[in-house]
């Protein structure tokens, strides 16, 4: 064995280097975890999560005009929209909406296809549920947005 590797071994150089790494890791800046329900992670701007239907804040009516583009764009065909035309304003409004979250892969094609920007995938991520039935969202649920299930005694 040549001299240098031998000296490295005898004086435990590599082990001490490794200990230096773990020692530096102790600083607060290095930390990557947080106390989840109380401290929340910063979500990236382009993250696609829980879908939401927007409502006109002034009149309270849905922005959706039932053009069916989202349903056509959806590769999983999980969106079903039915609507009727308002005889006065000649504008279509949704009667029934279903969005099956259990099949959604959050590709965001529906939100991209939406002609009025009514449908969007928000940054909310707490979508876990106790049953599959709750995953099929209707219009009201889509407009309410995220409602995480809370543990209760």
């Amino acid at each position: 064995m040549s001299l240098q590797p031998l000296l490295r071994k005898v004086f435990l150089v590599d082990l001490i280097k490794g200990m230096g790494v773990t020692f530096r890791n102790q600083s607060e800046e290095q930390r990557v975890t947080e106390q989840y329900p109380l401290e929340r992670p910063e979500i990236f701007e382009r993250f696609r999560g829980q879908p939401r239907l927007k409502v006109n804040p002034d009149s309270g009516e849905s922005l959706c005009i039932v053009c069916n583009l989202c349903a056509l764009a959806c590769p999983e065909q999980l969106i079903v929209v039915k609507g009727e035309r308002n005889p006065v304003t000649k504008r279509k409004y949704p009667v029934s909406w279903t969005y099956d979250l259990s099949r959604c892969m959050f590709c965001g094609l529906c939100a991209e296809a939406c002609s009025t920007d009514a449908l969007e995938l928000t940054q909310d991520y707490e979508m876990a549920l106790y049953s599959r039935e709750g995953m099929v969202l209707d219009q009201a649920a889509l407009e309410r947005g995220q409602e995480p299930v809370r543990y209760a005694k």
């Binding site: 200990m19 020692f23 890791n25 947080e34 109380l38």
Partner: protein
């Protein structure tokens, strides 16, 4: 009553030397409580420091910064179902954890926390410590054998082989330090208090004695003691990925917690051997460089100031707590803990207490460094393979420690040897 306490405290001897059964009992109780508290603190510190080394937070929920986590765990262990496997040797299964814990706690009789803060000054102190602590292996093997299961048996076998083989290197390293006690006075000693006093008389800790020799013996001991206590990176007997939990696999609840307690008590015990033999026991640092009554006084303030510093860190923590209503109780709790630490710090600054508690503080501080090292090793090093472990023990540490012993002996008697040689030549 008060006079009796005062006259004893003024007498400057250990209870064993004074022949006082009452004080010995008090000391034993104090040490038992102290070691148990240290194990609890160690449990929390290990989780926190290990978590920080792995860039995690560690326990945060039970109490401020998880301070009450060990108590929650202890409660959980106590109310857990106590399972004894079918076909187990019941009596041996019962005795094993008690045996391990008794041996781990008995050695603290001779540990010198200070000149007067030891239960007794046994004249074969270090021998007693080694002898009793190595009985712990027997308990481990008993537990592994009595479980009537594969993993515990394998773990116990590994543990037996490992502890026995590292004990040799450890013993040889200790002998070289014991040899050094005879350097100034001409007569060596095996008494733990005597060893520290020899270091005080020689004005040098044995780690710096005969320069690389003391250090080398210390390093050999520091490696062997990690293996001896079955800690990472030598934790093969309880390798999680291979043996579930080694000899503790079939144990649950209270019995398991006894094993846990014993493991940490053993870590404390071997660390105190290392501190006593090489790091000057209860002596304060820099006795030569910063000597004189002024420095003595300055160093006597260090224990109190350390606690006040810890309290200040706690108060800083309360300020830095997230300002969320859910954290309010934790913030208050952390503040209370800081206040408790500050109170202890102020108590340690009181003149009478200051002189009395100093040596205990320095001893505990040195042991605490070793405890941190244990956690640091665990956070850094991957586990050895069994053949590597045996190779390190028998082919590296044993020859090195034997060499150190021989060289130490020769250097120690160099003048007599030289005189004899020149006398023969004449």
């Amino acid at each position: 009553m008060l006079d009796a306490i005062k006259s004893y405290l003024g007498s400057n001897v250990t209870p064993g030397e004074a022949g006082s059964v009452l004080w010995a009992t008090i000391y034993v109780l104090l040490i038992t409580i102290g070691v148990s508290l240290a194990v609890i603190a160690m449990n929390w510190l290990e989780r926190k420091i290990l978590a920080h080394m792995q860039i995690r937070l560690g326990p945060m929920r039970v109490g401020p910064h998880g301070l009450l986590q060990p108590f929650a765990d202890a409660l959980k262990l106590l109310i857990k179902e106590d399972v004894i496997p079918e076909g187990a040797d019941k009596i041996v299964f019962w005795i094993a954890p008690v045996f391990v814990m008794m041996t781990a706690f008995t050695v603290f009789i001779v540990v010198p926390f200070g000149r007067t803060s030891a239960v007794t000054d046994m004249n074969i102190g270090i021998l007693f410590m080694l002898g009793v602590s190595s009985l712990g292996v027997l308990g481990v093997i008993m537990g592994g054998w009595a479980s009537n299961s594969h993993y515990p048996l394998m773990g116990a076998l590994r543990s037996g082989a490992q502890m026995v083989s590292y004990e040799i290197a450890m013993g040889l390293a200790i002998i070289s330090a014991v040899l050094m006690t005879s350097l100034a006075s001409g007569t060596g000693t095996l008494s733990m208090i005597g060893i520290v006093q020899a270091q005080a008389d020689q004005h040098r800790w044995f780690i710096f004695e005969m320069f690389p020799l003391g250090l080398m013996a210390f390093v050999v001991f520091a490696i062997a003691m990690v293996a001896e206590t079955n800690r990472a990176p030598f934790d093969l007997p309880e390798a999680e990925s291979e043996l579930v939990a080694g000899f503790m696999t079939e144990y649950s609840g209270f019995r398991w917690s006894l094993f846990f307690l014993a493991e940490y008590a053993a870590m404390l015990a071997v660390s105190s051997i290392a501190v006593t033999l090489w790091l000057g026991g209860w002596l304060r640092p820099f006795p030569n460089w910063l000597s004189g009554p002024a420095w003595d006084l300055a160093f006597s303030f260090v224990p109190g100031l350390t606690f006040l510093g810890l309290a200040a860190m706690c108060f800083l923590g309360t300020v830095r707590m997230p300002k969320i209503p859910q954290f309010k109780i934790q913030t208050v709790g952390l503040g209370a803990f800081g206040a408790l630490l500050a109170l202890v710090g102020l108590l340690l600054l009181v003149p009478g207490v200051r002189e009395r508690s100093q040596d205990v503080f320095w001893f505990v501080a040195k042991v605490a460094c070793f405890m941190y090292l244990y956690i640091w090793y665990r956070g850094t090093f991957p586990r050895y393979r069994f053949d590597q472990l045996m190779r390190v023990g028998w082919k590296v540490l044993l020859p090195v420690s034997l060499g150190i012993l021989i060289v130490t002996a020769i250097v120690g008697v160099r003048q007599e040897l030289w005189a004899a040689l020149t006398g023969v030549a004449r």
